[in-house]
């Protein structure tokens, strides 16, 4: 069979496909894109930029072997600067933070100027999926040896109590793993203390559409030694817990709350309408709740034009998240066709990075007043930024999306940017690829 014959026959298949293709309304495609973008924003607003490279559907309860594992070489490993594309990061305080790539977990004690790997020795060869650190010493990492064909694989949890110097391992059970194209896979960890944590995974079964994905929850009450599977969560969104009983799950336009540690969930009613502003309000991420019971949750106001945002801002709680007040919108967000990136930087400090990255709005009074300032991000070629989180009112990190298909015009995949000026100036903390 010659080249021309082969081309003709393959083109014949493609032509049949082209004729049979039935494009859904463009509005449905746009909604799917916006839901996806909102999901990214939601995960970031948990205060954790832990973004996995894979989605995991847990099929069965875990084995519970525990193996002591050593970290990398001793003495402490040398500093590294080239980690490759970062798929998750968490800034714990103004100086300490971690970054996760597909095969390395790295730690910085100086705001990202220097990095050393703290990857568990036993994780060599595994794909690192997500991580979470409660403080500078106590953290967790979930990994698996991802098969290329989606066949079941063992999910493994690692835990450390000494900042990654040593790790202990526990098996979580067989799982079917779905590689994520762009590093924003549906999986995240949330811990409220050294003992109690949750792993959220998205179950997308063969043949199931993205809109029908459900959330699978695993919970540990012994620091990650053992994990139990809870009843499925109502959606596939990221989870964030603030106590052993109370947590939230954010998904497409909605927010769900649990008060029994994830066993049952109830939808949180939409916040009260904004006076003088028409449109439909929806929660757009996970709440940040402080120890005094105050907190904020991001909201979006959708107007008549489905492609254009009518506003974005935050609703406030003063009772630990039981009720949410009338949202206060950043006036700079109306009429934008792209989602702003919203972050709670401190107890009263809110930030809203405009969708075009050119400006950032800041409020230091819980959203009552806003000041809009320019950023130095414009023209730097970051195709998709997400996951802005702050350790304090001025110090934060921001990720550029890891888009393996991004190509030209997207030369900084999986980069971490850092600011010490509340988002006005951003320096490259890790260059990504």
């Amino acid at each position: 069979m010659g080249d021309n014959d082969l081309r003709t026959r393959l083109l014949g298949v493609a032509e049949v496909g082209e004729r049979m293709a039935q494009p859904p309304p463009v509005g449905a495609v746009r909604r799917r894109g916006r839901r996806r973008a909102a999901r990214l924003t939601g995960a970031a607003l948990a205060g954790v930029l832990a973004v996995a490279v894979a989605g995991v559907a847990v099929l069965d309860r875990a084995d519970r072997d525990q193996v002591v594992t050593a970290a990398g070489p001793v003495p402490p490993p040398p500093l590294v600067s080239d980690l490759g594309p970062v798929v998750g990061a968490q800034l714990l305080d103004a100086d300490a933070g971690w970054a996760l790539t597909a095969d390395r977990l790295a730690w910085s004690d100086d705001g990202g100027r220097g990095w050393r790997t703290i990857t568990p020795g036993d994780a060599a060869g595994l794909d690192l999926l997500t991580a979470f650190f409660l403080d500078r010493r106590t953290g967790w990492l979930v990994a698996a040896d991802l098969p290329r064909d989606g066949s079941p694989v063992e999910l493994t949890a690692f835990r450390t109590g000494d900042g990654g110097a040593t790790w202990r391992r526990s098996a979580m059970g067989p799982a079917s793993v779905q590689q994520s194209e762009d590093g924003t896979g549906p999986l995240n960890l949330s811990f409220v203390d050294a003992g109690h944590g949750w792993l959220r995974v998205t179950s997308r079964l063969p043949g199931q559409r993205a809109e029908d994905e459900t959330g699978t929850l695993l919970r540990t009450t012994d620091g990650g030694r053992t994990w139990e599977r809870l009843p499925d969560a109502p959606t596939q969104g990221a989870v964030h817990f603030v106590s052993r009983s109370r947590g939230w799950q954010s998904s497409v336009g909605g927010l769900w709350e649990t008060r029994d540690g994830g066993r049952t969930w109830a939808a949180v009613p939409a916040p009260p309408p904004v006076p003088g502003r028409d449109g439909r309000l929806e929660f757009a991420g996970l709440p940040t709740v402080f120890e005094d019971g105050t907190g904020f949750v991001p909201v979006l106001l959708h107007g008549g034009d489905p492609g254009v945002l009518a506003g974005a801002g935050f609703a406030e709680t003063r009772d630990g998240g039981s009720t949410w007040g009338t949202p206060r919108l950043d006036p700079g967000t109306a009429g934008d066709s792209r989602f702003p990136i919203l972050a709670v930087a401190a107890s009263r400090t809110l930030l809203s990075l405009d969708g075009d990255q050119r400006t950032i709005s800041r409020s230091d009074d819980g959203g009552r007043t806003w000041a809009r300032r320019g950023t130095d991000l414009a023209g730097r070629g970051y195709t998709a930024l997400y996951g802005m989180s702050f350790a304090d009112a001025t110090t934060g990190w921001l990720l550029s999306a890891y888009l393996s298909g991004c190509g030209r015009g997207c030369d900084s995949e999986g980069a971490v940017l850092g600011t010490r000026s509340a988002g006005r100036a951003w320096a490259v903390v890790l260059p990504g690829r």
Binding site: M1, R9, V13, E15, V26, V29, R32, S176, R209, S337
Partner: protein, 165 residues
């Protein structure tokens, strides 16, 4: 291109991309899902993508990546020939189409990807290498092996038909 042009862009390229993905995946529903996901991602980045010389190339790359990573592809491949949907307005799959899909199905995904990008999307070897982030020699090797395997399988299928006929 202005932001309002996204719909025109979407409608102009949707079918062609589905065709390319069908040739690689052998499953129309899977192909459409990958293409829809790619366009969904493009829609929220349209402000940037619309400035590209060929935003359809970006969408194609994302669609191929989505397809490559799809958990469902293995199952879909196994039953592709049997469950190819046939909307009322569309032609029924021909025997040749099913033969080609059946011949493609056992090929390694990377070979199918190279074949479709080269023969269906019309990309030169160097462009495929850039897109897949592999050396050009690797692309040539995949094309050669894929071409040989496909020819062998299609030849065998035709021989079988001839014997039956």
């Amino acid at each position: 291109m202005a932001s309002d042009d996204f719909e025109a862009f979407y409608l102009a390229h949707y079918g062609r991309l589905v065709g390319q993905l069908l040739a690689m995946l052998g499953d129309l529903a899977e192909a459409e899902d990958a293409v829809q996901e790619a366009f969904a991602r493009a829609s929220v980045r349209w402000r940037w993508l619309s400035a590209y010389d060929a935003p359809d190339a970006w969408v194609r790359r994302v669609a191929f990546n989505v397809a490559r990573n799809s958990l469902r592809r293995a199952r879909s491949r196994r039953r592709a020939a049997e469950r190819l949907p046939t909307p009322a307005a569309a032609p029924a799959p021909t025997a040749d189409l099913l033969d080609v899909l059946a011949a493609m199905r056992p090929l390694p995904l990377r070979q199918r990807e190279a074949l479709v990008l080269h023969y269906v999307a019309g990309l030169p070897v160097e462009e495929i290498a850039r897109q897949l982030r592999v050396p050009a020699g690797t692309v040539k090797s995949r094309l050669a092996r894929g071409r040989a395997a496909l020819a062998r399988r299609l030849g065998a299928a035709e021989g079988e038909e001839a014997r039956r006929g």
